[in-house]
Symmetry: C2
Subunit: 332 residues, 2 copies
């Protein structure tokens, strides 16, 4: 069995990672369509040594089995239903459908069975949420988690290729004492940090912070879990880091948590006084956990440091894992 | 009344800030001694337009009224008692004496009366602690605070001039695709972050994180307040940022907290959807607070974002304020 696959948003950071991950994991593909905006038409991308042309996204999409979307909310809203109408299952990396009751929001290590409920669209969660729930789910299953306080250290790649360029350009300008120009981010990112990822909601939280709350509740099937997030952009190219403090439902020692996580799928636990950093995990598919220790506020509680490549496990890899899940369950 | 003042560690980041802040605030000085290690002997530093020679720290220090120390724990341990013996009050920026029961640990906006109990040495708190307690004290006084969860985004200047050089050098190496060299920090800091400030304690917390716990307890005179900190180094030159979540003793709305803080000494509150960033506060003496909002975990609780210049309010300015306090209370 092999599939007709379309990538929508193929030239973006996540789009190109889709290609790489599909190739690395040898996902069974019979035909591959690459779509992007008009601007990118005619560009070529390489898949398994073959050059493929990027086409402008047509209003009459071809019939494919699986469409991987990462082209922003408005493209997903408009085009995902058209692909579904033609018979595709859409795995959507935007936030457009994540909280829709009839759209499963899936992290394969956590809630794989939810894919079965799909009605054409399956949503890929937010990058910061994915790495957090992969690291916390084994603990949640074992002793329960009542509350999560999380502060993020998010790389610029989450905001796309232009944001990567902005960090590079501003850093050069800074080192050369030139005027620092700004076009993507609301504040200077070179040698700076700022607590705003995505736009603000009325309650003074950013949408990114609210995603971490509402998506975690949906993925864990737990409408009562509390999540208080502060999402911060840092001058790092790839890899999001998170300082996480959790209030446990029952006792779990740092050592037991470490042992539990070291057996968990897609989790790699660092040695006692070691810890992962973004540059260590860039390009990798696992979620890296370090500094597991007893929390000083929550009792029982734990603190930990969680790092993952936001473009890989935080986006492309998770989406391809969902496709693999559909394949293995014969749902596609 | 004017004073004989000595600066120990005059050529370091904080030492040079001592000079600047003493000059800016026009602290009454009759004589100024600049001491540093042998390496710096013969260097000159400018104070009020005058060139002053840096001398090697002598084992027989001169009799001064006030000695401002910022030369590390071992220098403080050895030399602070010698200066005290000669009649000085030592204001010490190292962590050597901070938790000693007979040494006041003072943030003038919080516990000014504690200076009265000094026996020759007054300790200046840790930079991350100072900015946190300045921002939280008005709230603590009003409704009480039971617990604090804090994650920091700490600039490299907290680790001294060589750390600033390391960030500059590594960033240049990175942009030019050269090999990245490392000498000060345990991990690469250019375009990276890592959760280690200071060394590790047996309980898997870093000393910086434990300082935030134990120093806050001492400054607030509250042995029961809980503080769970994760201290992280980020590629920023000056200015520490903190994501803070607090569990309140009683209700306080975000608006009331904002109003309270906007009237508090040394605190500047940002407008609703605005927020301070490290590059905005570098060189300033105040503590900047933004993103005050209802916490999603603690009830009643608040979340906020607190930024200050770690070399100024986090070190030199706070020490000079302590000297001013001694002056105004006629304790020197």
């Amino acid at each position: 069995m092999s599939y007709k696959v379309a990538i929508v948003g193929a030239t973006g950071e996540v789009g190109r990672a889709f290609l790489k991950v599909l190739e690395e994991r040898n996902f069974p593909i019979s035909e591959l369509y690459l779509f992007a905006s008009e601007r990118s038409e005619g560009k070529t991308l390489t898949f398994k040594g073959e050059s493929l042309k990027v086409q402008q996204l047509p209003s009459n999409p071809p019939a494919v089995d699986i469409a991987l979307f990462s082209a922003g909310n408005s493209v997903s809203k408009e085009f995902a239903p058209l692909f579904v109408r033609e018979g595709a299952i859409v795995i959507d990396n935007s936030s457009a459908f994540r909280l829709s009751p009839d759209v499963p929001l899936v992290v394969p290590e956590v809630n794989p069975d939810d894919v079965k409920e799909h009605m054409g669209i399956i949503a890929n969660p937010n990058c910061s949420t994915i790495q957090m729930v992969v690291a916390l789910w084994p603990i949640y299953k074992k002793v329960g988690i009542k509350a999560i306080v999380v502060s993020t250290y998010q790389s610029v790649s989450g905001a796309g290729s232009e944001a990567i360029e902005e960090l590079k350009r501003q850093t050069g300008e800074l080192l050369q004492n030139r005027e620092i120009t700004k076009s993507v981010f609301p504040r200077r990112i070179a040698m700076n940090v700022f607590p705003q990822v995505d736009s603000f909601d009325e309650n003074l939280y950013t949408r990114e912070e609210l995603k971490m709350l509402f998506e975690t509740r949906k993925i864990f099937h737990d409408p009562n879990i509390r999540v208080s997030a502060t999402c911060v952009r840092v001058p790092v190219f790839y890899g999001h880091s998170e300082a996480i403090n959790i209030h446990l439902g029952d006792n779990l020692s740092p050592n037991d948590a470490k042992e539990l996580l070291s057996k968990a799928p897609s989790v790699i636990v660092a040695d006692a006084l070691d810890y992962p950093t973004p540059i260590d995990v860039a390009g990798k598919d696992e979620v890296f956990v370090g500094r597991i220790r007893r929390d000083m506020v929550f009792d029982p509680g734990l603190s930990m440091w969680v790092v993952a490549d936001n473009i890989r496990k935080g986006a492309a890899t998770n989406a391809v894992q969902i496709a693999e899940l559909l394949h293995s369950l014969a749902l596609v």
